[in-house]
Symmetry: C2
Subunit: 257 residues, 2 copies
DNA sequence: CGAGTTCTTGAGCCTTTTCAACCCGGGTGG
DNA sequence: CCACCCGGGTTGAAAAGGCTCAAGAACTCG
């Protein structure tokens, strides 16, 4: 069960062959990517897609490998082709705090633009593959391709909005609400990518979930157990089944008290 | 005590007179603005500054007025010339959560880019003045002026980074740490603008502070009182003096336990 | 000057954390 | 091949931090 495959997408594939896909294994064609409707390439025509192709290079990462670290010089942003990442920040006291989990089609690294240095670490939580988009070139290209510019701005703005909903979660929800929201959000993003929305493997530990949600791992574990007992979800370690999505949603709408 | 005045800035003022500043009171010249070193105009040369001038229009707001509301069509972003704003979101349950406080030189409205609708409300907390920058035109102009494009991207990225540090605050600090961090952050931003970093008026209520920091207003009040008793700050309602900034900082670095 | 906010402070309660013990599963090495 | 080890997960009991509720004080604004 993979991403919405090409049948849904405009048939640009015939014209693609002027790009030698095989010659350099690191080369990748946005025009052929089945994620292009999720990614920066949305709305580009064939011609512009090829220009984007020219600056994108691919990189594979093993589970546990870091794509970039806090403090690294900022050189590129990254689109996830396959796999799963977390971003985190080491606080002054040395605790890590997870700031996000990212999956296919999402963009990593935009935090680095502000100071020419990355402010967080990005780590692959499973074997993954990213498209490297050198920032200088992307900036230049987006000056000449209006829809690329617009798309890029939308991605940055979406990141801002995403961060704000996390702020709301952290600022106003109680533990079980946070966890319900987290599961529903994951489920929704899986669906968007054509995977099952009702069962999936968590790629992160309870501790990482807790860090992301501002909770301790024990609290996460307890909430999972409680939801399990109530028949809302099935839990076997990292394997999760959503048994009653409406029940989870009800936890959210209900005022904390 | 106003913003760092023009002595620090390049003397572009002589050439500015081709723009009739007086003719239309709503017209405003970035080239003459003493905030231009903080704002989108950073790094533009005279020529480009004038192009930016052409698209910027000014608007005044009284205390309590809203600049835009959640759901409004997104048409422009706004640079604050003078005054003080909050942004907030109404959650489904009808509670408002404050997502930020903004002051002179900061940009409002970038959340709207992602969906062509604003996702939060922006409200003036004192009489204020903003520069309206119609987004379509700004986008177009930033395709032709590289340093404007770069500056704009940096502002968006800075917003992402800012949101992430708030996430860390909300996710890993205890009440007193949050409040110490909040005061130090305000103080720092006042200093950047040439105001006193050690005494200022809070423009927001305890409830708004609490909402922003994920705390109840009583908790905010208690922390203020405690800091006061410890000689860290002076508090008289909204008038705050920072008496021992290092003492406040020490609260942060100290691991929660 | 009075009404309505906003702020402060106290007491008790509730949620989440802390600390600790234990379990489970998968690898490793004897 | 089994014993052991170790990281990750679960569960319980006690402690703590922040919240709720409530009353009263201080300030603001018409």
């Amino acid at each position: 069960m993979t991403i919405n495959s090409q049948d849904r997408l405009p048939s640009v594939d015939q014209k693609v062959n002027n790009i030698p896909l095989t010659a350099n294994s690191m080369r990748v064609a946005c025009s052929q990517c089945n994620l292009r409707e999720l990614c920066l390439a949305v709305g580009l025509d064939d011609n512009d897609l090829h220009k984007l192709d020219d600056l994108v290079v691919k990189r594979k990462l093993k589970r546990g490998q870091q794509l970039y670290r806090a403090g690294d010089a900022f050189e590129a942003i990254y689109a996830i082709r396959t796999g799963f990442f977390k971003t985190d920040i080491l606080t002054e006291e040395g605790l890590e705090q997870v700031t996000g989990f990212q999956m296919a089609g999402e963009i990593l690294g935009m935090d680095g633009i502000s100071n020419d240095r990355h402010v967080c670490n990005a780590t692959a939580l499973e074997d993954s593959e990213v498209c490297i988009m050198p920032y200088d070139e992307l900036e230049e290209l987006s000056r000449s391709i209006k829809s690329l510019q617009q798309q890029f701005h939308k991605f940055m703005s979406r990141e801002i909005v995403r961060d704000q909903s996390l702020m709301i979660l952290l600022g106003s929800m109680r533990a079980e609400e946070r966890i319900a929201a987290f599961l529903l959000n994951l489920s929704q993003r899986m669906r968007l990518r054509g995977y099952s929305a009702s069962e999936f493997h968590l790629r992160m530990t309870r501790e990482e979930i807790g860090s992301y949600l501002g909770l301790k791992l024990e609290t996460v574990s307890r909430a999972f157990s409680k939801f399990h007992d109530e028949g809302l979800i099935g839990v076997q370690q990292k394997y999760i089944r959503i048994l009653n999505a409406d029940g989870l949603k009800a936890l959210l709408n209900h005022a904390p008290n």
